[in-house]
């Protein structure tokens, strides 16, 4: 299963690494670039007989996304995964990630950090141009980071990623220095994400509405037009320069003439369109269709996202989950394994970790999460929820053991919603009343901002273990002006805070790993979180599609190597 992908990925990425190894002071062992990340994941890519096909130039690939159409194609604005998926085709980042999860330079040629960790110097490759003809220079780094930090940009993900960068200084045409407020060993990981991708400084000067419809980058494709609700039309960037040359590629431009990037929100329609050949690639593939896709001869790419695993967070700031016993009782009461198996048809592996399986520093502890109804009942009795009302729910002082669970229809796929319904039924057996509210995204954010939740599932995609600080540091319980906060479990633990800060600032890799492990143990053992599985990111593609597999640091596929049967 893994072989075709590895094979396919090698061409581009082996090459990339041989160069970058020099730059990243011995930080990597294996020469596979981020694009190959997927190859080491459990499922990997299956299907079409890629190894036999000879690359052909030409043809327009039709891509069907199940996500909502972004309102802005510039991933600096807001910053969500659907934006990353499409932007990965026309924007590139300073850094990327290899198959081991190591960060390597991409648009950057090399980088170094000062001893105090407060000055990061980045040198760019020479000879790279944006698709509007502007040359990629250090000025671009400065403009892009300023763009991210400008409140009018309304950047969310990218803004947080460059939070410690105070200012950018241009040293020479290709060299910039980033001044940091405190050491940040996650900065390169942050700069490897599409949300901090580098856009043409000239294009950024246009008004936001225009930049949203046609962001200008250095990627293998460029935005030709955007027909709202219909498609984003991408065409080949004929002047594309691979930042890291690859001698196995005859030409350094993409095989495809272009990509028609469509939005088909109905899962069944999307799959039907793939089956009938109307589209070539679909994302957000439903578990049941993934299972049947192999029989239909369709290709499958499983590219779990980095950052957090999908998990349910228990709001520890209010009753009843302010009591660790009640939290453990809930976690012991539900049986995730059976549900995940049935609902995901073996396409998702159960996780017992806070972090995605692609994060090397993830720590896993299965023993904490075994289903044990008897223990759950005992724990609840101990916590004082010993009475039962007419409907069989537990009560304490006349108050029912009732928890609210707002579920976003945007964040949770149907299979996950079904899993939550199963939890609801299982939790009822030990006396929990779980009230599931299916909400659209803005109502869901509203419910979170008003703390109207006891349980919530809010996956967070970010490269590297520093996502832990975003999600579990007590600072993240302080809401932004809009009410948003990332620490949904409301974990407030001084020891944890210290571990997370320290882990981010240390230069020593081993120490970093150990600090993060301690931090993860605190969260897991405190039963703040019920891990479920990796953030699912499945793609299916037709028999005529070859060369699928390369991805960015956040596992969004790049179709630079992809070609179609003619």
């Amino acid at each position: 299963m893994v072989i075709p992908l590895a094979h396919r990925g090698k061409s581009l990425l082996m090459q990339r690494n041989s160069r970058s190894s020099r730059i990243l002071a011995g930080a990597f062992a294996l020469p596979l670039i981020g694009a190959l990340l997927a190859s080491c994941s459990s499922a990997g890519s299956t299907g079409s007989s890629t190894q036999d096909a000879k690359p052909v130039t030409g043809g327009t690939m039709v891509y069907a996304s199940g996500d909502a159409e972004p309102s802005c194609l510039d991933p600096h604005v807001g910053g969500n995964y659907p934006q990353a998926l499409v932007a990965s085709q026309f924007l590139e980042s300073l850094f990327t990630k290899d198959s081991e999860g190591k960060i390597i330079p991409w648009l950057a040629e090399k980088t170094e950090v000062s001893e105090d960790g407060l000055t990061r110097t980045i040198t760019l490759h020479d000879g790279i141009k944006f698709t509007d003809g502007t040359k990629l220079t250090a000025e671009a780094i400065k403009k892009n980071i300023e763009h991210l930090k400008d409140p009018n940009t309304a950047s969310s993900t990218g803004y947080l990623a460059v939070g410690k960068v105070v200012r950018v200084e241009v040293k020479d045409e290709l060299t910039a220095t980033l001044k940091l407020s405190s050491p940040d060993n996650a900065l390169l990981e942050s700069l490897s994400m599409p949300w901090t991708a580098i856009e043409s400084p000239k294009a950024l000067e246009r008004d936001q509405a225009t930049n949203c419809t046609s962001p200008v980058g250095t990627g293998p494709f460029k935005v030709a037009s955007w027909e709202h609700q219909k498609a984003v039309n991408l065409v080949r960037n004929d002047d594309y320069v691979l930042p890291v040359p690859n001698d196995q590629r005859a030409n350094s431009t993409s095989y495809l003439d272009g990509i028609t990037w469509r939005f088909i929100p109905e899962a069944a329609t999307r799959y039907a369109a793939l089956q009938s050949g109307e589209v070539d690639v679909i994302d957000n593939a439903q578990p049941d269709t993934i299972a049947s896709a192999a029989d239909a001869g369709l290709g499958h790419l499983d590219a779990p996202r980095p950052g957090s695993a999908n998990r349910i967070e228990l709001n520890s700031s209010k009753a009843p989950f302010n009591d660790q016993k009640v939290r453990e009782a809930f976690i012991r009461a539900v049986d995730a394994n059976t549900g995940v198996g049935a609902l995901f048809f073996g396409t998702a592996k159960r996780s017992y970790s806070l972090l995605s399986s692609v994060e090397p520093l993830g720590y896993s502890d299965e023993a904490l999460f075994g289903t044990d109804t008897a223990k759950a009942n005992t724990l609840l009795d101990e916590a004082g929820w010993s009475e039962r009302d007419a409907q069989g729910y537990r009560t304490k002082n006349g108050k029912r053991l009732s928890v609210r669970f707002p579920v976003s229809t945007n964040q949770s796929v149907p299979a996950e919603q079904s899993l939550f319904e199963q939890f609801q039924a299982q939790a009822k057996a030990v006396g929990f009343e779980v009230k599931i509210d299916l909400l659209d995204l803005s109502s869901w954010y509203g419910a979170l901002a008003k703390h109207e939740y006891n349980l919530v599932s809010a996956p967070y995609t970010k490269v590297g273990p520093s996502v832990l600080r975003v999600l579990y540091h007590s600072d993240s319980t302080v809401p932004a002006p809009s009410g948003y906060f990332a620490n949904n479990a409301q974990v407030k633990n001084d020891k944890l805070d210290k571990l997370l800060v320290q882990a981010e600032e240390t230069e020593d890799e081993a120490q970093r790993a150990s600090l993060y492990e301690q931090a993860q143990k605190i969260v897991l053992e405190g039963y703040y979180v019920l891990p479920l599985y990796d953030q699912q990111n499945h793609f299916l593609y037709g028999k005529n599609v070859h060369g699928v597999g390369a991805t960015t640091a956040v596992s969004s596929p790049i179709y630079f190597d992809t070609f179609l049967d003619q």
């Binding site: 069944a268 549900g339 049935a342 609902l343 299979a415 319904e421 609801q424 039924a425």
Partner: protein
């Protein structure tokens, strides 16, 4: 109405009522009981209509869903009809200028397609069963109101009422004995037709994720859940769909038997 038609109508109404009020008679199981190991079972003897993704029995859910679906349909129709009777009667009996104003208001209500109206209301209130009922009720009201108005108007000038005047009946007795019952009669037929349509609309909202939240066995919501698995488990969407169609069809048939015409919708 012929005798057989009457009996058939009563039987059908009885069946729906039984499903709505005492579903356990027909399906003793728990519509919410999950059994993940039995997920996606095909229809068969163990599960007449198969099971869904969590192993819930679809037959049980369809039967138990009748209550929710019909209640929404009834509530929405009652709301629409109540509003229609008030507006229609006022318009029919009031002077021309007021009649014109009410007519314009009705036209304004009518000018926004039903589902758009529902979405509008939901845009302002957020999703849920309540807004869905209000939305469906509001968007069906103008149609009914126009009928009430024209019904009362034509009755007001009918020979029947003139004959009653000539026989010396006062306004009150004329209204009570002739005007109101005769105006209401076609509405009764319309109400049954309307319930069928309201069930469909409410299901459409659930389908769009804006109506009844799962895991309640509302048919639209079941359909919505089932469509995800259309390729794998057709039965998940077939049976709730059939239930909606069956309600709408039997409502139409009963409405017709009562003398209703589709036209007036």
């Amino acid at each position: 109405m012929s005798r057989t038609a009457k009996i058939c109508c009563l039987l059908v109404i009885g069946l729906w009522l039984l499903m709505a009020l005492a579903p356990s008679v027909l399906a003793p199981g728990d519509p919410l009981a999950i059994n993940p190991t039995q997920a996606f079972a095909k229809p068969g003897l163990a599960h007449f209509f198969g099971t869904d993704e969590s192993g819930r029995d679809i037959y049980t859910r369809v039967i138990h869903g009748a209550g929710d679906s019909l209640a929404i349909g009834l509530a929405a129709t009652a709301l629409g009809m109540g509003l229609a009777i008030v507006l229609g009667t006022i318009a029919a009996l009031s002077p021309r200028w007021l009649d014109e104003i009410i007519l314009r208001i009705l036209e304004a209500l009518y000018a926004i397609p039903s589902l758009l109206m529902a979405l509008l209301i939901i845009a302002f209130t957020g999703p849920g069963v309540g807004p869905a009922i209000v939305a469906v009720g509001l968007s069906t009201a103008p149609g009914y109101a126009r009928l009430v108005r024209s019904q009362i108007r034509s009755l007001k000038n009918s020979e029947m009422l003139e004959a009653a005047t000539v026989l010396g009946r006062g306004t009150w007795r004329k209204s009570r004995n002739h005007l109101i019952p005769n105006a209401l009669k076609p509405l009764l037929a319309l109400v049954t037709l309307g319930i069928g349509q309201a069930v469909i609309w409410a299901a459409a909202l659930s389908f769009l994720g804006l109506g009844t939240p799962p895991p309640a066995p509302e048919w639209g919501a079941m359909l919505s859940a089932g469509r995800t698995y259309l390729h794998l488990a057709w039965w998940m969407s077939l049976f709730p769909g059939l239930a909606i169609v069956a309600v709408a069809v039997s409502a139409t048939l009963i409405g017709r038997a009562l003398g209703g015409k589709v036209k007036s919708l």
